[in-house]
């Protein structure tokens, strides 16, 4: 029974990684850049939610909406101020800028909130489900996380396949120049991508801190890196890949913590990643691009 318990917990933490990974993968697919500040947007989302519930005493649902709004805006502002002026420059310049933005956000949070961890109150008030006479406990957080993750996946798939903006995004990700010549506003499309990615980061931040209730300026950093790994693992640029990569990563992490070693869990996770990438360099669902000679 403990196996099932670990599996469900793994899927739950993996679902959070998956939601974060979606932000990485969408931005990479469309803007062809690695937004290393993405993990810190999660942290901002969590702080926004924390402020609304703890300082203003408003209900959890309001705090989520505020967090989403704040992060969406933040994503658009970051993209507009930091990345847009660098469009067309070597990708290394953008990458370094992203790292700079990441530090900026962490330090700004430290200035405002201090470095002492805050105790994040879970937004889920549902009671845990106990099954098999106490053999299996599914907490409300786990359930909500998984449901939200599935909903986001379905929503994003519909969005990219059905809507006009979704089609434009796919077109821009395949061939930016050709899309532009077909009348698509590439800058606007990239902004929308950042907005969506950052909104998802807010949701991930709230879910993450509901499960692991310590909130500090570096809260987003490690999950951000794990989620980035998940995106690469699944095939960066691919939405289903990010989902699969995130959930698998969560499961591997939980199992290695449970059965092998808590301390070495990260080492194990990254070893698995290295092995997968040796076998499938483009990731699980990534497309192998044949270089023409």
């Amino acid at each position: 029974m403990s196996f099932l318990q670990y599996l469900i917990n793994g899927i739950s933490i993996g679902a959070v990684y998956a939601i974060i990974a979606l932000g990485y993968t969408m931005v990479y697919g469309i803007a062809k850049m690695l937004n290393f500040a993405h993990g810190d947007v999660i942290m901002v989302g969590a702080y926004a939610s924390y402020c609304v519930t703890s300082y203003l005493g408003l209900p959890a649902i309001v705090s989520i909406l505020v967090a989403v709004a704040v992060c969406t805006l933040l994503g658009i502002v970051i993209e507009g101020l930091a990345y847009k002026p660098l469009r067309g420059t070597p990708s290394l310049a953008v990458l370094i800028t992203a790292i700079g933005v990441s530090y900026f956000l962490q330090n700004a949070a430290q200035l405002i909130f201090g470095s002492a961890p805050k105790n994040f109150k879970s937004i889920v008030s549902m009671k845990a489900l106990t099954l098999f006479g106490g053999g299996l406990t599914i907490t409300g957080e786990v359930l909500v996380t998984i449901v939200v993750c599935v909903a986001i996946m379905v929503g994003l798939t519909l969005f990219t396949s059905r809507t006009r903006m979704g089609k434009a995004m796919r077109a821009v990700s395949e061939d930016r120049a050709a899309a532009q010549l077909m009348g698509i506003n590439v800058n606007q499309t990239i902004s929308v991508t950042f907005a969506i990615g950052s909104a998802l980061a807010a949701v991930a931040g709230v879910l993450l801190c509901s499960t692991v209730p310590t909130l500090m300026p570096t809260t987003g950093a490690m999950p951000g890196i794990r989620a980035f790994t998940a995106a690469v693992f699944g095939g960066i640029g691919s939405i289903p890949g990010a989902m699969l990569g995130g959930i698998l990563l969560g499961i591997i992490e939980t199992f290695s913590k449970a059965y092998i070693s808590t301390q070495f869990s990260d080492a194990i996770v990254f070893s698995v990643l290295i092995i997968i990438l040796l076998v499938k360099p483009a990731g699980l669902l990534g497309k192998q691009i044949q270089e023409k000679v």
Partner: protein, 280 residues
């Protein structure tokens, strides 16, 4: 600069409008266009006016600057000198997608379809600025979404059928045969509602029967949509048969402009293609 052929014959830039276009605003009016890449002058003093229903050709040896000219006309490159007017509006400084909205669309020398999308979706990307349906309505599949989607699908299918591609609408663009992909690119360009389309080597890689079909289709596009067509092509048979006016470029400069008949007999053109006869 020193490498330009010395005895270039300057043909007056008189208006070559077809009779039906006489007195109308040209869709494309290019004045003294030029671009330098570092010290290299890739295009210089390029002038052309194209009437609303004209089929014009742009020919010249490899590396003459033909594709560079197309990139200048669509706003991909910003010119160093001169101006490009699309339907009377100067495109200077405009982002590429706005230039497209003015009514200029193009295809590419090396096919650049969205290969992971279906043929139909490729065409619908071309209709991006036309499909008006709110974000919420699309996500929630409200009736207005279905109306907009049905109208878009119908128009896209009509365009595909027009080029004989109705059967492959649901196939991934990347999986289609080469000749079909070339035609699909033309459909996608047409979907943006252009008043002129630029075709960059539309017959490249086609066999003679496909080329013959393409010639027929180019004329049919003009006659059906009443738009102008400006094409780069190396297939002289196609150029001479389809184009009403032809501009010949070499070393980034127009060396001759005229009807196919005039171009064929122009000594500068013969020299550019075959080299100069050595009389010494």
């Amino acid at each position: 600069m020193a490498d330009y052929p010395k005895n270039v014959i300057q043909v007056p830039t008189y208006n070559l409008f077809r009779e039906q276009d006489a007195g109308k605003l040209p869709v494309l009016d290019v004045r003294n266009l030029g671009i330098d890449f570092g010290g290299l002058t890739a295009v210089d003093s390029f002038n052309i006016t194209i009437g609303p229903t004209e089929i014009a050709g742009l020919i010249g040896p490899n590396g003459a600057g033909k594709t560079t000219i197309f990139n200048l006309l669509t706003g991909v490159y910003q010119p160093t000198r001169g101006s490009v007017l699309v339907n009377g509006i100067d495109i200077k400084g405009m982002p590429v997608h706005k230039v497209n909205k003015l009514g200029i669309a193009r295809t590419f020398q090396n096919i650049r379809l969205f290969s992971e999308m279906t043929a139909l979706d490729n065409v619908k990307v071309g209709m991006h600025n036309e499909i008006k349906c709110s974000f919420i309505a699309s996500l929630l599949r409200l009736p207005s979404y279905y109306r907009a989607e049905a109208a878009a699908n119908m128009k896209a299918m009509e365009l595909l059928d027009f080029m004989g591609l109705g059967d492959v609408a649901d196939k991934k663009a990347g999986s289609l045969p080469y000749g079909v992909q070339r035609r699909l690119e033309i459909v996608r360009a047409l979907a943006t509602n252009p008043s002129i389309i630029l075709l960059d080597e539309p017959a490249a890689g086609m066999n003679p029967s496909e080329t013959a079909e393409l010639m027929h289709q180019i004329r049919r596009i003009r006659d059906t949509f009443h738009i102008a067509i400006f094409l780069i092509e190396h297939d002289m048979n196609l150029v001479m048969n389809v184009c009403e006016t032809i501009a010949v470029v070499n070393y980034g400069k127009i060396i001759c402009k005229g009807t196919p008949e005039q171009v064929r007999q122009n000594p500068a053109v013969i020299e550019a293609y075959l080299g100069k006869e050595d009389n010494d």
